[in-house]
């Protein structure tokens, strides 16, 4: 690996980077990773959201915890460092259902609901989704490379996918 800076994004967290930084989040489970990229300025952003909808939860101070407010805050931060909203493109990963019991309870199908919420807000903001690797039942580690907008998705026993 080269000496490019790796910027880690934890659960309920978000961050941005200019080329050549790499934004990464490790062990994405039922949370959804939403990555945004401005291909002209080569600015990337990643938010690791736990829950679909901030309006459904009383305690919603932490914006990065939610798909809706996290995405909006991420866009704000990207614009501050020079990105243009109309140029942004999105890629999604995560939203897995880690354990079978999550099926039985509608409240627990959180991974799927996170992905649906991400698609909804991106559509409202007219940000095209170029690729996704979502759902199923396994964890993912992702890396957004700001030099070219490639999103690497790694899963145990499944190798590395480039989307």
């Amino acid at each position: 690996m080269s000496q490019k800076q790796m910027i880690k994004v934890g659960m309920a967290d978000l961050n941005t980077s200019k080329e050549p930084g790499i934004l990464t989040t490790l062990g994405l489970g039922s949370c959804v990773g939403i990555t945004l990229y401005d291909p002209i300025e080569k600015i990337g952003g990643l938010t690791h959201a736990m829950l679909p909808d901030s309006t459904q939860i009383r305690d919603n101070k932490n914006k990065a915890k939610f798909v809706d407010t996290g995405t909006l805050q991420l866009i704000d931060q990207m614009i501050k460092i020079g990105a243009k909203q109309h140029r942004l493109v999105a890629k999604l990963a995560g939203g897995a259902q880690m354990f079978a019991f999550q099926k039985s309870n509608d409240l627990m199908r959180i991974g799927e609901r996170n992905v649906i919420a991400a698609k909804k807000i991106l559509q409202e903001l007219k940000i095209p989704i170029l690729a996704e690797d979502t759902g199923l039942n396994y964890g993912r580690t992702i890396e957004l490379h700001t030099e070219n907008g490639v999103l690497l998705v790694k899963a145990i026993g499944k190798g590395v996918k480039e989307i």
């Binding site: 967290d13 490790l26 736990m50 829950l51 932490n62 915890k65 019991f101 145990i156």
Partner: protein
């Protein structure tokens, strides 16, 4: 007594949670020792109250591959119980249980996986029954659910539950170690805060 929030626990609350971890994992450790007929040591239970961005690190890094056996808890005490092992420990444990030679690099067969689930079942059962006995509260664990995956991905499931009510997650974590073959892992109790309130009441301790 008003609802206790994970962000505002005092040292007295933490002591009680640690003691719960102590009693539960003490019993589970004894059960494990009997099961494999070896001496098993237990660490001091830790009550971890973590920001979500730090949650994934408690099992040695978010992308560490682990085996997690998880129980959804219902009854008076709700939340989750987890039994987590690294890959190597899980293999050794299965081999010890099956009375086989220890090979560290085999792939798990279906029977191995089902044996691991059953170990999880027995250990979680002894952890929870001691807790239920102490508090006279009803705790009903689900069947075991297993995942072989990255620690962060497994821990995201309980973390999300905490995310619905606050900005921190609480894990009562106890490490156990079988010295000779170096099997180590964790018992993790993840009570919902509303159950904690019931536990305090049941133990006859007011705030």
């Amino acid at each position: 007594m008003s609802e206790i929030h994970v962000d505002h626990l005092n040292t007295f609350h933490l002591d009680i949670l640690r003691e719960i971890g102590n009693i539960g994992s003490g019993n589970a450790t004894t059960a494990l020792a009997k099961l494999i007929n070896k001496k098993v040591d237990m660490g001091v239970p830790k009550v971890n109250i973590l920001e979500f961005k730090d949650v994934a690190d408690i099992l040695g890094g978010a992308d560490t591959e682990v085996i997690g056996i998880v129980f959804d808890l219902s009854g008076d005490i709700t939340g989750m119980m987890m039994f987590v092992l690294d890959q190597r420990s899980a293999r050794i444990l299965v081999n010890l249980l099956m009375g086989r030679e220890i090979h560290e690099d085999e792939v798990f067969t279906d029977i191995d996986l089902s044996a691991l689930q059953e170990i999880g079942n027995i250990l979680a059962g002894s952890y929870l029954s001691s807790l239920a006995g102490l508090t006279h509260l009803k705790i009903a664990p689900s069947i075991p659910y297993m995942a072989q995956d990255m620690a962060g991905a497994i821990l995201s499931v309980p973390a999300i539950e905490f995310g619905k009510v606050g900005d921190k997650a609480l894990f009562i974590e106890t490490e156990f170690i079988e010295g000779k073959d170096q099997v180590s892992g964790y018992f993790i109790l993840i009570p919902e805060m509303k159950s904690f309130h019931k536990i305090l009441e049941a133990l006859g301790v007011s705030k």
